[in-house]
Subunit: 595 residues, 2 copies
């Protein structure tokens, strides 16, 4: 991996920072965040601006360029990768280390007095803008919105924004028509006396309209915005995409059944002026719902008196609770996924002794086998296919220069998943094709105990996922071990493999309580730097439980595993399992792992 | 319990709200919070202003009086009590119910346009002022500080502020001189470039100066403030208390060893003007540390540019980690406390069959037996002595009209503790003096399993207490049961029985990580409304653990119980305990409970 040479790019960017074509007055610093205008986790090539300017292509990182300095902040997952991908014009700011200054403090330490810091208001979230702006103001500087993106201005061969074909999903996949979803949304709005809702997250818009795209790799979404009023629906999307008869029919563009379900379409870029028009006509007490993670550009269109920012939109909450059709689809997807992975593991057992299988070829084989399953669309994230020490790199992705060969001597960890039209999968299995050591088996078994403890947990209705996180760690903690990531995330149904508002983590973020119908992952692990990595991940469905009692009629919940891929028996030290774990393991598809 | 008649008091208060002797312009509402100027949990009689105006004497509640309305907000623990103690001039606002308006929303709903709401800035915390002020401003009203307390103005027989004798504690009890503590505080200040620290919490001031008082029942503290600079110490306290030679010598008032350890004393009330003087002389970059729970009155003396509010002061953090002398003292206190309680339970076994022991007389006997122990000072909180259904009222305190007789048929729950000069205790035992039912034993055993799970938990250094809370609930959850309170709180050493910054709770408050030397309670429970209550509480010390491995050299922690009172064997269904719990139980002083 050789670093990107950025001398010339930085010269051009600094020139742009002084160019009155883009800004009235020169700016002394320019912030380049990671995300796109929808705060997507995965982004399209045209939005990889931070990578373009500094070379670092990890999923998280913010670059800041001043007249003299260039610095890039990322977290512990990416210290090595970033240091290899960036040239020495860049300073790597290692987040999480005590001595590392925050972006604000660094800016304050390097900027001349009364400086102006610029950022593209479309790719900074409203809440981040607020914090940054406040911190800079307290030190006499100011944060300004630069409407033209300065990276785009110097990015000669910037890819165009994707505009892939839209896929319409019928009731057999969605369980609810988009009209039903619209009605439910409006009743939530009426309940809270909200006049308008601005949808900015791509997966929420895809879910609402029962449409899918492939604008972003791994995520079946399409670039769009929506503005919904009590009698109005505005969809902002590349108009060319709506020329297809099936799409027109699906959205009833030509023959709306009712006035309030008639969709007005407009170009993607016109959302700004249309939202301005909506806001200009608001009555004095009217309120507009918008995610607090929406772009600063859109948030600021709405006057403070009308703005009602929310951490989780009603679409996010509704989407998280899967209906019977979606659950059935997710189950089907997991059956197909398990078939493909069983084929893979059988193939690996046969091929590994020949010494020809590598991390990359194993991942490719997994994709090939999955692609033979019905309604396969693509992978749901880049496969983490890792041998031995590479397994200890939690977000590892095999590259030609790191690619190891699978052998009978090292542990193999495969964390992978797929998008099928009926559902999304995400599964991790850790295996040994020779003879695992006693220590490998011991730590694997602790991870398995944690995995079972979460999967079999019974808890009252209304419990938030973060309260279950320690169950996954107890067996490891008892032996002085731990893992430094959360235990689970929400999973979409033929949508993003990571979705809110629920999860299982020691980090206390504002997660919403678990509800029957929600789907999350259960994935504790253990990582021994330089040696191996272990992770056991199932996707699990929240279901009602029926324990002996029912305290205050609150009801109880538990999990039903959707993932059906067996766990490798030889990795388990069964002496370390309790009888209860053995029996729970039987129920929960760990059968092959147990005596 | 008959309600307090408040017609005349409300008339007088409303008159005061219009009286230009106290305020320049009439105010349309007056807020009467619960606390004192130090945000103490327990308060002195002279500070019981909310009780005076409405009659309700629970530990939590806020009264608001407008020209036409009077309303009082309290939580679920107190709905019944408040409704019995308040007359019909008052509306009980049941916090936690969906239909109940917040104080802000209620004010906005009843006030005429452009109203002014008053509050005594000394008894409202700075963070509460901020929220209330913002909410009122958004609706066109304003919050103003009324310097003269309007309740005091109409409270004819208001008790005087206590000024009890000060007790000096030597090294044998504290382990550190106040001079050492002052030096440690100043080094924390230097580390963070802080010029001044304002101490407002009574237990922090008592701890810092190695002094105790008895101004507030159950809490061995005294009314005071302190302002500490790098070369200055100012102590604000009723000057009369400093006339005692032992106190003068302890504080080296007449012969300071060093200039920077010379204490300047001033009257309690002069803290405001002295802080003004300190702030007036601040250099442009100087910062002042103050708790964000300090009174609005003091917070506002410090200009925003100089203010550095913190959730936990360095004194709070230092006080929480007990030194070897304090740990030894806490152990001694718990030995004495266990002797007294064993005597009590032996006495109860003998006396209960006679039918003459009541909740009140049992609590009195417990106090009498404790008072015979060396260095006994008083109780550490009002004893919760409860029989049968009263046990299900979590914060029950026996009153003549609720007093039940202990019998062979009902469960008895005693949650009590004492202050000894060497330490503070807090213990709950639940017993049956006849034959407990199978259901009582079953639920008791689930609570015991949870209690053992926390007490025996091993967890990495740096873990916050809230991550352990679910361990206490797992056995109950498995059977569909739960309890609606946290699992543990910090415990002071001959100081407040509840102290920050650590705890064990499902509520994610900003708790600090557990550290070796911290002391918390472990007290899961189960409550069956109208039938019985179960709680098992030990005070436990955080100690290093030595599990098999040591992941990333982080080190592990566990708990050592300080409480030595046996758990009643006949309440345990041993079939429900695992072998591991039985052996852990043996280690952890549950011996008498086990076969």
């Amino acid at each position: 991996m050789s670093p990107k040479i950025t001398v010339e790019l930085l010269r051009q960017l600094r020139q742009a920072m002084r160019n009155t074509k883009y800004i009235a007055e020169p700016i002394q610093a320019y912030i380049v965040p990671s995300g796109d205008a929808h705060q997507s986790e995965y982004i399209a090539p045209c939005d990889c601006r931070r990578e373009f300017i500094c070379g670092f292509n990890g999923s998280a990182g913010t670059a800041i360029v001043t007249e003299k300095h260039a610095a890039m902040w990322t977290d512990g997952r990416y210290f090595l990768q970033a240091s290899q991908q960036m040239d020495n014009n860049w300073t790597l700011m290692k987040m999480g280390l005590k001595e590392t200054l925050s972006q604000e403090d660094w800016l304050i330490s390097v900027l001349p007095e009364n400086s102006t810091v610029g950022v593209d208001p479309w790719i900074i979230a409203a809440d981040q803008w607020k914090n940054m702006s406040k911190a800079l103001a307290s030190a006499g500087h100011s944060l300004v919105a630069v409407q033209d993106n300065l990276i785009d201005a110097i990015w000669m061969d910037r890819p165009t924004r994707p505009s892939t074909q839209l896929l319409t999903l019928g009731l057999g996949f969605t369980g609810l028509t988009w009209q039903d979803k619209m009605t439910a949304l409006r009743s939530k709005m009426a309940e809270r006396k909200i006049s308008w809702f601005v949808a900015t997250a791509l997966d929420e818009i895809a879910w609402l309209f029962n449409l899918r795209g492939s604008d972003i790799e791994y995520n079946p979404v399409f670039f769009a915005y929506a503005i919904v009023g009590m009698n109005t629906i505005r969809l902002f999307v590349d108009i060319k995409r709506l020329a297809v008869p099936t799409v027109r029919e699906h959205l009833q563009l030509d023959t709306p059944s009712k006035v309030e379900l008639s969709i007005q379409t407009a170009p993607y870029e016109s959302v700004f002026t249309e939202l301005q028009a909506v806001c200009a006509s608001l009555g004095p007490k009217e309120k507009v719902w918008i995610s607090d993670k929406a772009s600063c550009a859109l948030m600021q269109v709405i006057a403070k008196a009308h703005r009602s920012p929310i951490p989780y939109t009603p679409l996010c909450l509704a989407k998280a609770v899967k209906n019977a059709t979606e659950i059935q689809g997710m189950k089907m997807a997991h059956i197909k996924d398990a078939v493909a992975l069983c084929e893979l593991f059988a193939w690996l057992e046969k091929e590994i002794p020949k010494g020809t299988v590598t991390e990359i070829s194993a991942a490719d084989k997994a994709e090939e086998l999955r692609s033979q399953q019905k309604d396969f669309v693509g992978l749901s994230f880049p496969s983490i296919s890792s041998v031995g020490p590479n397994g200890a790199i939690i977000h590892y992705r095999p590259l030609p220069e790191t690619n190891r060969t699978l052998s009978l001597n090292e542990i193999y960890l495969l964390d992978s998943g797929a998008q099928y039209i009926d559902g999304t999968t995400d599964v991790t299995r850790t295996m040994h094709f020779g003879s695992p050591s006693a220590y490998e088996k011991e730590t694997f078994t602790y991870v398995l105990k944690g995995h079972i403890a979460v999967s079999a947990a019974i808890f009252p209705n209304g419990t938030k996922g973060h309260l279950l996180d320690s169950f996954a760690r107890q067996a490891l903690w008892d032996s002085g071990l731990d893992y430094l990531h959360g235990t689970g995330h929400g999973v979409g149904c033929f949508l993003n493999v990571h979705e809110g508002p629920c999860g299982i983590s020691y980090k206390t973020f504002a997660d919403e309580p678990l509800e029957a119908g929600m789907i999350v992952s259960d994935e504790p692990g253990y990582y021994e730097d330089g040696l191996f990595g272990i992770r056991i991940e199932n996707v699990v469905l929240v279901v009602p439980a029926k324990p002996k009692y029912n305290y205050r009629n609150k009801g109880s919940l538990t999990f039903e595993p959707l993932t059906l891929v067996p766990i490798q028996a030889k990795m388990v030290n069964t002496d370390l399992l309790t009888q209860k774990e053995v029996s729970l393991g039987n129920i929960h598809s760990f059968k092959s792992a147990l005596p």
